[in-house]
């Protein structure tokens, strides 16, 4: 909706100009990158490879293995780790969060423990995880799991705890029993927050994945990123960064789509 106003700039809309500016900004960025590396040679390829080189590295590594596998292999390994870690964390965090929000006693018992563990960044668990589970799948799943677990748990708990009491009262006076209230009111009402928690959690889990793979792994995108640095092949690092970025974007898009499906009854935020 637009409105012919005398207001400040940000009340108006300069749509076409925006598209042009945005496009030229991205193109300009890539062009400058190209210019300072390939054309003018201001920055040696050891520091920053040209976009061309990155592109060809990606293309090449689809067929030629790096380390133990090709690019697809590394993406697959990372994907597997994040899927397993996330699944386990969600299976634990969501029920625990609901129970903690519902049963006051459980809340009292769990809260102090969680409050001690929560401020520890999940990445700080890496050394211990390696000690406990070795450098295989186990330690990565554990760390990713920790990353996903806490935001999901906290949001689920808050979602259950802060359901509008009037809705609960309404259900009760309409004849709903405790378990009906949980199923019919509390769960649906807390879904938006739960999904938001999962979204934060998966973002964090991606970071944990990269960190864990960078510290100790022989496969995966984090390994690729680290290998590039160790072997002075920054194009390899950038390849890994691009792929992990794409993975993150896809994951986020997926969750947003799910959110739209599940929270269909909530008005979209007006400022998008």
């Amino acid at each position: 909706m637009s409105m012919k106003a005398f207001g400040p700039q940000f009340l108006e809309r300069i749509y076409r100009e925006k598209v042009v500016l945005s496009l030229s900004s991205v193109l300009g960025f890539i062009f400058c990158w190209y210019l300072i590396t390939d054309v003018l040679g201001l920055i040696p390829a050891l520091f920053l490879p040209s976009p061309e080189k990155v592109f060809f590295t990606i293309y090449e590594k689809i067929f030629i293995p790096v380390g133990q596998s090709t690019l697809f292999g590394h993406v697959g390994v990372s994907l597997l780790r994040i899927l397993v870690g996330t699944t386990i964390a969600l299976c634990l965090a969501i029920p625990l969060g609901i129970l903690m929000g519902w049963y006051e006693d459980l809340d009292s018992v769990m809260t102090p423990i969680i409050e001690v563990l929560r401020p520890i960044p999940p990445i700080a668990w890496i050394p211990l995880a390696i000690l406990w589970f070795g450098i295989g799948l186990g330690s990565k799943v554990f760390i990713i799991g920790i990353g996903v677990f806490f935001p999901t748990l906290i949001n689920t708990y808050m979602g259950v705890k802060f359901v509008d009491p009037i809705l609960i009262k309404a259900a009760q006076t309409l004849g709903a029993k405790d378990k009906d209230v949980l199923r019919e009111v509390i769960l649906p009402a807390s879904v938006p927050l739960i999904v938001a928690g999962i979204r934060i959690g998966i973002g964090l889990g991606m970071m944990c994945l990269v960190a864990a793979e960078m510290v100790a792994a022989s496969s995966g995108l984090g390994f690729l990123i680290m290998l590039g640095g160790d072997n002075l092949k920054p194009e390899l690092s950038i390849t890994g960064m691009i792929l992990i970025g794409i993975m993150g974007l896809l994951a986020d898009t997926l969750i947003l789509a799910v959110e739209k499906k599940v929270v269909y009854w909530k008005k979209e935020s007006q400022n998008g």
């Binding site: 700039q9 108006e12 006051e104 018992v109 520890i120 050394p127 000690l131 680290m226 640095g229 920054p234």
Partner: protein, 294 residues
């Protein structure tokens, strides 16, 4: 105690108040809440005792869990006091902590100083937004710690490479929140200010947009701080010769889990203290934000 309480209330109200049922009921409700909160404290304390006790019993009394896997809790304490003045892989505990703090705070403050003004400008000026935002959207999905190898390549293994990565990790939430906060400025308030005689854009920004965005901006600062701590640990685990992350990495190689856990606890506590400090600052800066919105 429980029985006395209603009488106290009647007594307090006695001078002029009526003895009415709602008063008594209300007081009983307050009383049950008190009981509930007392129960809560007891349960919480019990839970901590059980966890610590179980840990102690498993590792020290029954010795079912080998110390190389999970050290007894008292070992962590003794290690803490031991490392206070004895150096471990190059520094004492305090030395490592100071190295880490210096990097975190350096990167974090740089991020706040650059990120917030940039975000505000992006929110206020459509053209700046149009130019900067797409690049931001391109770089944002890449986890900041994935920049570590490139950063090492660019800045060497010293402090600057780590500050760069930490700056990056705190910078993104600072910019995004400042930008969102300004964009969410209530148009009605802008109209009100215009109608009261504000004419210059700058006054509008200063008096309306920035204060209304402030809670969101501070939220971004808080996220940035958490992000900075996390990235610091990763950077120190990967490439460092001092700092808490480095200490933990070395302890892992030497199979000394008690020092690892010590490092985790210190990182957690420092992070929590700084987050709490920020929260208190928020309360000072934005007294108009109600607690439930925080």
């Amino acid at each position: 105690m429980t029985e006395d309480a209603p009488k106290t209330l009647l007594y307090e109200n006695g001078a002029e108040g009526k003895i009415c049922l709602t008063n008594i009921l209300g007081n009983l409700m307050v009383e049950t809440r008190k009981i509930r909160s007392r129960k809560r404290v007891i349960l919480s304390v019990l839970s901590v005792i059980v966890v610590l006790g179980g840990w102690f019993v498993l590792t020290t009394v029954l010795r079912w869990v080998p110390p190389a896997f999970l050290p007894p809790p008292q070992n962590i304490l003794t290690d803490f006091f031991r490392l206070l003045n004895k150096s471990y892989v190059g520094h004492t505990l305090i030395g490592h902590t100071l190295v880490s703090l210096q990097i975190v705070l350096g990167g974090f403050f740089l991020a706040v100083l650059i990120g917030i003004p940039l975000g505000i400008m992006m929110g206020w000026f459509k053209r700046i937004e149009a130019i900067v935002d797409p690049m931001f959207q391109l770089l944002r999905p890449i986890p900041p710690l994935a920049w570590i190898p490139l950063s090492l390549l660019w800045f060497g293994i010293g402090i600057s490479s780590k500050i760069f990565v930490i700056w990056l990790s705190a910078f993104v939430p600072c910019v995004i929140n400042a930008y969102t906060g300004i964009r969410l400025t209530e148009p009605l308030l802008v109209k009100a200010a215009l109608g009261l005689g504000v004419k210059r854009q700058w006054d509008l920004l200063r008096e309306v947009a920035i204060p209304s965005a402030l809670p969101v901006i501070l939220g971004g600062v808080r996220i940035g701080l958490g992000s900075a701590w996390m990235t610091l640990v990763a950077a120190e685990l990967l490439a460092s010769d001092a700092g808490l992350g480095y200490m933990m990495q070395m302890a892992r190689r030497a199979l000394e889990p008690s020092i690892i856990i010590l490092g985790m606890l210190i990182i957690g506590i420092l992070g929590a203290i700084m987050a709490r400090g920020l929260q208190m600052l928020e309360k000072r800066i934005c007294p108009w934000v109600m607690d439930k919105e925080r």
